[in-house]
Amino acid sequence: MKYLKSWLEDYVKIPCSNEELFEVITELGSEVEASTAFPEIDPKISVAEIIEIKKHPNADRLQLVKLKTAEGEIEVVCGASNIKVGQKVPFAPAGTMIEGEELKEAEIRGVKSAGMILSERELGLSQDHSGIKILPQEEKLGRPVAEVLAADVTFEVEVTPNRGDLLSHYGLAREIAAALNVPLKKPEVHLKESQPKASEKIAVEIATENCPLYLAKVIKGVKIGPSPQWLKERLTALGVSSINNVVDATNYVLFDVGHPLHAFDAKKLAGSKIVVKDLDEEVETTTLDGKARALIAGTTAICDKEKPVAIAGVMGLKNSEVDEGTSEVVLEAAVFNSKSIRCTAKSLELPTEASARFERGVDAGAVQAAVDKAAKLIQEIAGGEVLTGTVKAGKEPLERKVEIEYERILKLTGLKLSHSEIDQILTRLGFKVKNGEAIVPLWRHDIYVWQDLAEEVVRLVGLEKIKSESLLHLVQKPAQTDFYRRERIKDYLVRWGLTEAVNYPFLSEEDIKAAKICAKDLLEVSNPIQEENRYLRNSLIPGLLKTVAKNPSFDDIEIFEIGHVFSKKGEAVHLAIATSGKSSRQVEIIVRELTDKLNFPGKEFKITEIPRDELKRFKIKKPSACVAEIKLDEILDGLKLGDLALDVSGQKVAYRPVSKFPPVKRDLAFIVDKKITLGQIKEEILKISEKAVLVEPFDEFASDKFGEDKKNVAFHIWLESRERTLQDPEAEAEVEKIIKALLDKFGAKLR
């Protein structure tokens, strides 16, 4: 959820910097994401007040805006339509950096402009360029705008699913107050109510187990219209669009104290009784988002005498919507069963701000306060009179108690605390502590056992207080399981020149056509987001053939994979090898090696030469490819693999990113001094050529015919460009560069 710092400060005075605040929240268990990476705003941009707006003499759509700045009055030209006299706006004088460019004093259509007033985009805050950024009215003239904006930052917090209670400004403020041990201002509502009693207007009945509590208030004589600026600003800051004053008021209270509310147009309700019930039969209706939906039998709904008027805890229906004609409002505040709301929102594919909070659990002890707050707000911004009292059905749930196992908490965490210190921590978090028991506050739905209390203690004390404790040394070495055997096989294959591929275990419709696999033999994913993730592979070979197809610039391909394959009979681990190009028959030699040296049952290997039409279907350009595959897990026990200790002697790699564009391969052979190593030459090539992505030696031999102490070395070099497909002349130029560099550095002569 997004939070606005100034909104939090309605409830808690934040005594630290933004960065410290974000750190506190993160350490409490809810990560501050994208801590609103605040743009650098030029300090020359300052607060100014609009004192006069005139039409531009030579341009219809431009205005001349007179500003009062800290330095005096000046005039700028402006095209925005959202400005009014008296507003505070960000003013940038000439010389300011805006969107990477220096602002110059300018003449616009014959009128001099001493600078600019800025939109959000020009400030670097967002992409919004629809109007000038309006600053809070109370800001002082001349104050740097960077400071103004930093004082009221918006930030996003990733709230874990167990902490629905944090999904409001009051909720997060309560958490911050507990953590920093500073006072929390509780929301207080003094509501002025008028006669008659609400209960004379409306009655409420609960006829389902899925609604433990339902409250309704009635407000008559409201005038629907736009919300005041302050309210719009707060909602906009959270990315919520403003609808009208009554709807905005209910949304505001949701983000303010966390309780979802709903407003009905009272005149659209048939009869004078609201019933919360599970629907007997399916109902076709339209939700507030304008979509037609079928509510299946069993859906918990709010109903009037004739029809459902809201889907409980999810969304209201169009038939009782508040609109311009509304004059009387019924305000709902209820508690619904988490599981039932989750089920409804899921089956309707309609997750809402309301359902998110009901699923996680709301504060059943604060429903009255929430509905009072909304009623008061509506009265303030939409007028009208709040009828006396709240119509109520059901009751608040009982509080849960958890025994505080002090000693076990201390032992598990290793913290050194007294029992009363633990009590104090829990009290700060809103628990009531009595006779060794913690009474869990109604807003917490994640505390059931003493381990949960341990987490609370750790969260508030901080992890730095926990001492690490060494493990007892084991006498026995852990067993070397199948994992070790497979790794050993990989070592052999690599030693024999093969490269390990790790492919996706999925097959697409296209893949199974290419491989002529029958879809009914495969396990199928029922909900893939990407089409290529439709089926699970029952063989490693399609993946290896796709790898062959993807690498046309490699003449010689020898690859293997060890991975899981799936079928209706079960899951297995296979080994597969694919060879293609010059060495396409190599697979037979490798299988023979595996059989002779490692005791593989050679007969179990299925060696196949891929037929031409299949090569074509896989888009393999090479004339031939061979594959072999074996069920590895069935034969591991019989293999002779020698020492199973893991080889972790990987060499250091200076990784070079690969381009999206295809490479060209060049082979170069040189005569060099015997002392020069292949590694030195490779390193030099990579150093001199940024276009070289891969350099592989493929030949090295000494002979007198090259001269005394000389040898022949040869390399494959793959060259590529990051921006486009490399053209031949560019490749030639790069090759020349490499040849010259090797001559200069090692005296290497091209053969």
Binding site: E27, L471, L474, E487, E524
Partner: protein, 226 residues
């Protein structure tokens, strides 16, 4: 002359296994396609709770899931192990999401858990600090912070200081008593810790790989560099 190449992920997983092997951890494995029970319910992630939604799941037509984490090995391991145990489970897991440079649907994970009498948060810190120093060097700056996961209580995340600030590398915590119970053990007697990390990101960070999809691209320009 012609030696082949081990996948960088294989090399990194071996390093991890080795680090934990030295602390007495044995490798166990679990299926990549599993039942809802082992992947979710047994780990205190019931279907009627929003904690399910954190991981986008591939559901198979037969009702099973592609495991969303290697933690399906936790309860399975106790079908043929008795405490005290120290186990690690390297493997592949799956998230049903759209892929880009930073997101993959097929991921590598490295899971570990220790179950015994009287296992404490201090033990978890000891083992993970030791591993982090082995992975990143003795001078690495790291921090632990509380984070809620349904299968542990209390739960922690660990960040290391990277070039551009704190970077989350693993989630961990004391195994939830409900999970201990599902292992067939008495939570009044046994406790344990568990952790899970994503070696894909670690490999990317180690070599400066920008696009996670390269790991499974089959691009030989990539594979033959390692």
């Amino acid at each position: 002359m012609k030696a082949g190449h081990l996948h960088p992920q294989t090399q990194y997983l071996r390093l991890l296994v080795k680090i934990f092997e030295e602390m007495g951890f044995e490798v166990v494995e679990a299926p990549e396609v599993d039942t809802e029970w082992y992947n979710f319910d047994a780990l205190n992630v019931p279907s009627d709770h929003p904690s399910r939604d954190v991981q986008d799941t591939f559901w198979l037509k037969d009702g099973r899931v592609m495991r969303t984490h290697t933690s399906n090995s936790q309860v399975r391991a106790f079908e043929n192990h008795e405490p005290p145990v120290r186990l690690v489970c390297p493997g592949v897991c799956y998230r049903n999401e759209a892929t880009d440079e930073r997101h993959e649907a097929t991921l590598t994970q490295f899971e570990g858990f220790y179950v015994d009498k009287n296992v404490t948060v201090g033990h978890l810190f000891y083992v993970l600090s030791h591993a982090i120093k082995k992975m990143y060097g003795a001078n690495i700056k790291y921090r632990m912070r509380v984070h809620n996961y349904p299968f542990v209580e209390p739960g922690f995340d660990i960040d290391v200081m990277g070039k551009s600030g704190w970077m989350e590398i693993l989630g961990s915590g004391m195994i939830h008593p409900i999970v201990i119970k599902n292992m067939g053990l008495d939570p009044e007697v046994y406790s344990g810790f568990a952790f899970g990390m994503g070696p894909d990101r670690m490999v990317m960070q180690k070599y400066g790989i920008k696009d996670i999809r390269l790991l499974r691209s089959g691009d030989l320009r990539f594979l033959r560099q390692f």
